[in-house]
Structure formats: structure tokens, C-alpha cells
């Protein structure tokens, strides 16, 4: 079964999943404990934070809280909203009266935690204003998060939501070899090995890093490893970051045949095309249009525009 809501490990890292209340980013804890990831950051509801900190302590992990993230709708009057990332949140200090989620940093090393947390600021809306960190902080934060240097440099040069309607199209167009499933971060908030956007979906450094993590996960929790692999070897429709559809099917030339369609991350965006795609079982992809069919009958289409610059990509292991 694809995209089960939660995965609860039987043993390794079970306490952390139970404390968090979800298994999102579980692979990042594996990466940290495997020595592949110096730092990670999480968002935990205040009601769960104490239990979470205790669970981290059990695995020898240190934590540092930074801010409350509050998921409220952004209005046009927020000054500097153009700096907001895909995570559009209001912010308040830890200890303030709000619920929301607490942004917390985790590391195996106290020194790494102390240094890394200084780079992790998000452009939260505070008193009606978003404040963005200097660009070099993104680069160094990526290093603390364990991202390969080539991917970080690529991100620094190309990650610009104002310039590109679909920032994921840039690494897609930079992919020279067939996309490799170990470079697939499209399902990063559910089942994945990586959280960063690679410089190409064939990045050798990413593959090297991810292979080590895959081996580690298979040693510690093979069931989880198999679950991740099943989610990576799929075709996808990518409209933009966080607006991605996975298909239980096969992409052959310009035709995608599938049994089911899933919206990868319903946390931030509403899935505009999910209803249409769920009704169909075949997509014929043309340059500016993707025609959706239910058997032989065309039931709809997805147009490509300047603000909707989607692409299809398959990581199928052939």
C-alpha cells in the first residue's frame, strides 16, 4: 500500500515516532544516527515537546528550541511576504501562549547544535513583517543538514521562487542521465532518503550519500527501507515544490498508465488536479498539455502556463 498515513517502527526509533505523533522525516533520524547528517530541524506540537525531548535523549541526541510556528493564512498586508518560503508561518518566541508547532534543532553533538541552530532562521511573519536571513546562511545551514556541496551551490544559484514558477524544473533540466530513485526527494515529507533538492536527479554525490543511508536503514529497520524504496521508484507529476502527484504506474515515452494517484504532500497546498487524476488511468503528455483519460475517454486536461510549469518524471528502476 502506497502512502500509508503513518509508519510506526517496531523497535529502532519507535519512541521518537510515538513522541512526535508521526513518522515524517524518520529517515533523517536514521541519517543522523548513521553519522551522515550533523543536524536536523523539526516541528513538534507544544503538548508533545517534553516527551519528544526525552525520546531524543534516549538516542543520545541534544535539542534546542527556537520558535513557535503558527499556521495561519498569510494576508497581502504582510510586509516582505515575498521572502516567505514554502513554509508560510507566523512566529512567536518559545514560551509564548500559542499552540502551533515548536521549531526545534536536533544533533548528536552539542557543539554542532550550538553552531548549526544559528543558521536555521525561517522568514516568519512577526508583527506583520517577514524577515529573511542572509543568503549565505542557507548555504551553511545546508552543510549542517548534510547536503552535498554541489547541491548547495546549485540551490544558491537557482532557488528563486520569484524567478521560477517551478523551482524543481531547474534540477530536472540539469539531469543528464536517467533520473535515479536515490536522488528522489519529491516524497521527502512521507517516505524518502533525502530532504534536499539535488542539483540534478542523477547527482552522483547524492547517490553516494543515499546509498549509505539506505544500507543503514535496511540494517536497522528493513521494513521501513522497503517502504521507502516502494515510494521512490514511481512516476511523478511535479507542478511545483509541495505540489506533486505520485502515480502507481509506469511512464512509457509520453504516456503514463496508472492504477492510482496520490498527492504527495497535502500539508501546504490543496491538490488541484487530484480529483481529475484519480478518475483517470492514463495521461498523454504533450508539450503544453497533459490529457487525462479514463480508458479511451478523455476526461480532462492539465494546461501548461507561465505560472504552472509542470513536468513529468519517472524514477522507475528499469
Amino acid at each position: 500500500m502506497l502512502f500509508p498515513e503513518k509508519y510506526i517502527p517496531n523497535d529502532y526509533l519507535r519512541e521518537i515516532v510515538l513522541a512526535k505523533g508521526n513518522s515524517g522525516m524518520l529517515f533523517l533520524y536514521h541519517a543522523m544516527l548513521a553519522g551522515l547528517k550533523p543536524l536536523l530541524d523539526e516541528w513538534i506540537p507544544p503538548s508533545r515537546i517534553k516527551e519528544f525531548e526525552k525520546a531524543c535523549e534516549k538516542y543520545g541526541l541534544y535539542t534546542a528550541k527556537e520558535a513557535h510556528f503558527l499556521d495561519l493564512p498569510f494576508s497581502d498586508r504582510i510586509i516582505g511576504k515575498e521572502f516567505a518560503t514554502t513554509t508560510k508561518c507566523f512566529g512567536a518566541p518559545v514560551g509564548s501562549e500559542y499552540k502551533g508547532r515548536i521549531h526545534i534543532y536536533i544533533s548528536k553533538s552539542e557543539e554542532v547544535l550550538d553552531e548549526g541552530k544559528r543558521y536555521g532562521w525561517y522568514p516568519l511573519a512577526i508583527n506583520g513583517r517577514c524577515v529573511s536571513k542572509p543568503p549565505s546562511d542557507h548555504y551553511w545551514f545546508g552543510e549542517f543538514l548534510g547536503y552535498p556541496a554541489c547541491c548547495r551551490h546549485f540551490f544558491m544559484e537557482h532557488s528563486n521562487h520569484q524567478k521560477y514558477a517551478n523551482t524543481l524544473k531547474v534540477p530536472f533540466e540539469n539531469t543528464k542521465a536517467p533520473p535515479h530513485f536515490l536522488c528522489n526527494s519529491l516524497t521527502k515529507d512521507s517516505y524518502s532518503y533525502i530532504y534536499h533538492i539535488p542539483c540534478g536527479f542523477d547527482c552522483k554525490n547524492t547517490i553516494k550519500h543515499t546509498s549509505k543511508l539506505q544500507k543503514f536503514i535496511y540494517r536497522k529497520d528493513p521494513e521501513y527501507g522497503r517502504l521507502i524504496d516502494a515510494h521512490l521508484n514511481l512516476p511523478f507529476l511535479v507542478c511545483r515544490e509541495r505540489d506533486i502527484y505520485a502515480f502507481d504506474g509506469t511512464l512509457d515515452g509520453n504516456t503514463l498508465t496508472y492504477k492510482n494517484c496520490f498527492f504527495v504532500d497535502d500539508y501546504l497546498y490543496q491538490p488541484k488536479y487530484l480529483d481529475l487524476l484519480k478518475k483517470g488511468n492514463r495521461v498523454v503528455i504533450e508539450e503544453k498539455e497533459a490529457k487525462v483519460y479514463s480508458n479511451q475517454r478523455k476526461i480532462g486536461s492539465i494546461q501548461k502556463t507561465s505560472s504552472e510549469d509542470w513536468f513529468f518524471i519517472s524514477f522507475e528502476d528499469r
Binding site: 527556537e66 520558535a67 503558527l70 495561519l72 510586509i79 516582505g80 515575498e82 521572502f83 507566523f90 512566529g91 512567536a92 518566541p93 509564548s96 500559542y98 541552530k117 544559528r118 532562521w121 512577526i126 508583527n127 506583520g128 513583517r129 517577514c130 524577515v131 529573511s132 536571513k133 542572509p134 543568503p135 549565505s136 546562511d137 548555504y139 551553511w140 551551490h153 544558491m156 544559484e157
Partner: protein, 364 residues
């Protein structure tokens, strides 16, 4: 050709950042750091030449070059040195929110000041407001901590974080220059530089906000500004309802010609807060560090009272006047019963106060 023009010609982008008062409601200007980072990624050779340019001009007291050097140091992770420059740049114009934002990230990375930097990011408007309220125009770590204490202990400051902060009282530094040089001044003598922003635009944006009920003109000495009365006229023509407080040493009002201009503001809510240190001329002049300032200040108070103006005397307490302080109070009550109020103003451990023998009586 200026250095800024030379830089732009050589590298294709500018060093200048337009003044961005926190009341302008404009997004931060991160253009310089963005351009530098992009250049580093896309054109390392040109970026190397930028470093050489910055290094060659490092010792010039040019704010744009200071900013360039600060951002280059930041990119190289030399955060303590970058922080020194960010503090100096913020001091040059503490009204500009871009400088405070740079400062916040500088603090975030400095070993000891992470918590302070985070607090500044959550309370940007509060820090700027209280900085102006305390008239601290030198931004350094002790002053930031002073501001933080004043902010947190104030009943009026209750940040809910989710909404824009609207202060009913706003402070405007009209001029940093002053014709006194008081020992008690929270700003150091060497920081008496002109502001680099358009006063007019700055005032227009502030008085355009209906929730602002009171404007306080501070300085330096506001009356030194050549178009002081024009500014008053403009403010009251747009906002006849506003309360305007002028923090002054009162010396300009010694001149009857100067007082005469006040006639047109007769029905306006205009208050003068005049700084005085003693009823004894020698003591006052010694603290103000200007011979003859007592005579002019007292005459100024008398002329203002004669013109029917509302006067508050700010009596600064220091080591040099503490002995006869009660006598000064009694003398003011007797001689000028029409005074609205007398404020006793403790010193801030900042600026000139730290250099002279008055620091033992500092506001804690």
C-alpha cells in the same frame, strides 16, 4: 567619480541602500548580500575583485564600504568582526530597519549573543521604539541590553507577535547636532552626525498613520534644524489633532524672534520639554559643557511661558548636581509655578555618562 559609482561601474550592482524607516512598511533590502552571494557562485573571478576592492578601501569611513566589508566578513563566517561593523552601521542611523535586521543576524552568530539576536528578531519594532524613547543613538551591546530591559519592564509593551505593533507615541530624531555637549547625554560627542535621510519623507510617513497620537521630536537639538517651524506647520496641517512634544535645551527660545514664530501654533497641542540641571548657572553650564547655556535656557523657559506654551522641565540628576537637587526643585516651583511638570531624569549608563563622573547615579 565617487567610490560608489566606481563600484557600480566595475561590478554591475550598487552598494547604496535607500533609507528604510521602520514606519515605511517596506520590505527589507537584501539586495547587496544577494548580489554578493550570487556573484560568488556564478563569477568567482569577479567576486575576488570585489574582495580586493573592499580590502583596498577598508579604512575609509564610508558607510557603504563598511556595509560591503561587513557582508563579506559575514559570508566568510567572521561573525565577530562583522558584528562590530553592523553595530557601527546601525549607530549611524538607528531609524533604518535594514540596519537592525543585519544587526540581528550578526548577533545570532556571535558566540555570546544568540539569545539577544533571537530576541531582536522577535521584537524588531520594540527595540527600535525603545531605542528612540531612551534616545540611545549609539548601538552597542550594553545599550541593546538597556533597551531590552526597558522594553520588558514596560507595561505599555505587550507584544502579541501575530499583529502589527502600533505605538501611539513615536519618536523622531530631528537632528543629531547640538549646541550643548552635556555630560549626561546618552550619546557620545563623536556620534553627533547629521542623519542621512530625508526628514520630510520620514515625517510624512509617520504622521500618515492615524493611530499615532503623539510625536516626540528629539535629537541632538531639534530647534537647530533650519526648517524647524516649516516642519511644525506641515505636521499640524496634516494632523491638527496630534500632540507634539519637543525635547530641547530651550536655548533657541532665548531669541524673541524665534519665539515669535510660535504664535501660529497657539491652539495646538504643543509641549516643550526643556532640559535643566540646576538653579545655579555654574553647575548647569558645567554639566551642559557650554558657558552661557544656563542664561539662555532660563530665558528660553521664561519666553515660552510668556507665550503661553506648555513647558515641562526635565531635571537631569547627576553626581555634579545631586547635592543641591532639592533646592533646584524648590526654586523651580517658586519661580515658575506655571510649569506643567518637572521630570526627574535619571541617567542612562550610556554615551557621555560613562566617561564622566556621574556614572554612579545611573538608571538601572
Amino acid at each position: 567619480m565617487s567610490i560608489e559609482e566606481d563600484f557600480r561601474r566595475k561590478f554591475g550592482f550598487g552598494l547604496e541602500r535607500p533609507f528604510n524607516d521602520y514606519s515605511y512598511d517596506r520590505a527589507q533590502d537584501g539586495g547587496l548580500s544577494y548580489s554578493l552571494n550570487l556573484m560568488r557562485e556564478t563569477n568567482p573571478k569577479k567576486f575576488k575583485r570585489i574582495r580586493e576592492f573592499a580590502s583596498k578601501h577598508r579604512n575609509l569611513d564610508n558607510e557603504h564600504l563598511m556595509l560591503l566589508n561587513a557582508h563579506l566578513l559575514y559570508m566568510d563566517k567572521k561573525y565577530d568582526r562583522a558584528l562590530k561593523l553592523f553595530l557601527a552601521i546601525a549607530s549611524k542611523n538607528p531609524l533604518d530597519i535594514n540596519r537592525w535586521i543585519d544587526l540581528a543576524f550578526g548577533l545570532l552568530h556571535a558566540k555570546k549573543y544568540y539569545a539577544l539576536g533571537l530576541d531582536l528578531l522577535f521584537n524588531l519594532y520594540g527595540y527600535i521604539h525603545y531605542c528612540l524613547k531612551l534616545n540611545l543613538q549609539t548601538i552597542n551591546i550594553p545599550n541593546l541590553l538597556l533597551i531590552q530591559r526597558a522594553m520588558k519592564s514596560s507595561k505599555d509593551y505587550n507584544n502579541k507577535y501575530l499583529f502589527p505593533i502600533k505605538f501611539e507615541e513615536e519618536f523622531l530624531i530631528l537632528s543629531r547636532e547640538c549646541n550643548n555637549n552635556c555630560i549626561t547625554c546618552p550619546n557620545e560627542t563623536r556620534d553627533r552626525l547629521a542623519l542621512d535621510c530625508s526628514i520630510r519623507e520620514y515625517i510624512e510617513r509617520k504622521i500618515g498613520k492615524p493611530y499615532i497620537k503623539k510625536l516626540v521630536f528629539t535629537g541632538g537639538e531639534p530647534t537647530i534644524l533650519p526648517d524647524f517651524f516649516c516642519i511644525l506647520q506641515e505636521i499640524f496641517s496634516v494632523r491638527p489633532d496630534i500632540k507634539l512634544v519637543i525635547q530641547t535645551n530651550g536655548r533657541a527660545f532665548f531669541d524673541p524672534g524665534f519665539i515669535h514664530h510660535l504664535g501660529e501654533f497657539r491652539n495646538k497641542d504643543l509641549v516643550f520639554e526643556v532640559s535643566l540641571f540646576s538653579h545655579k548657572p555654574a553647575v548647569h553650564d558645567r554639566i551642559a559643557r557650554c558657558r552661557g547655556s544656563f542664561v539662555q535656557t532660563i530665558k528660553g523657559i521664561e519666553n515660552l511661558l510668556g507665550a503661553g506654551c506648555m513647558i515641562v522641565v526635565n531635571l537631569g540628576l547627576s553626581e555634579l548636581n545631586k547635592t543641591n537637587f532639592q533646592q533646584t526643585l524648590d526654586c523651580l516651583h517658586r519661580s515658575y509655578p506655571a510649569l506643567s511638570k518637572i521630570n526627574i531624569v535619571p541617567l542612562l549608563p550610556s554615551g557621555n555618562c560613562l566617561t564622566f563622573p556621574c556614572r554612579r547615579i545611573c538608571h538601572k
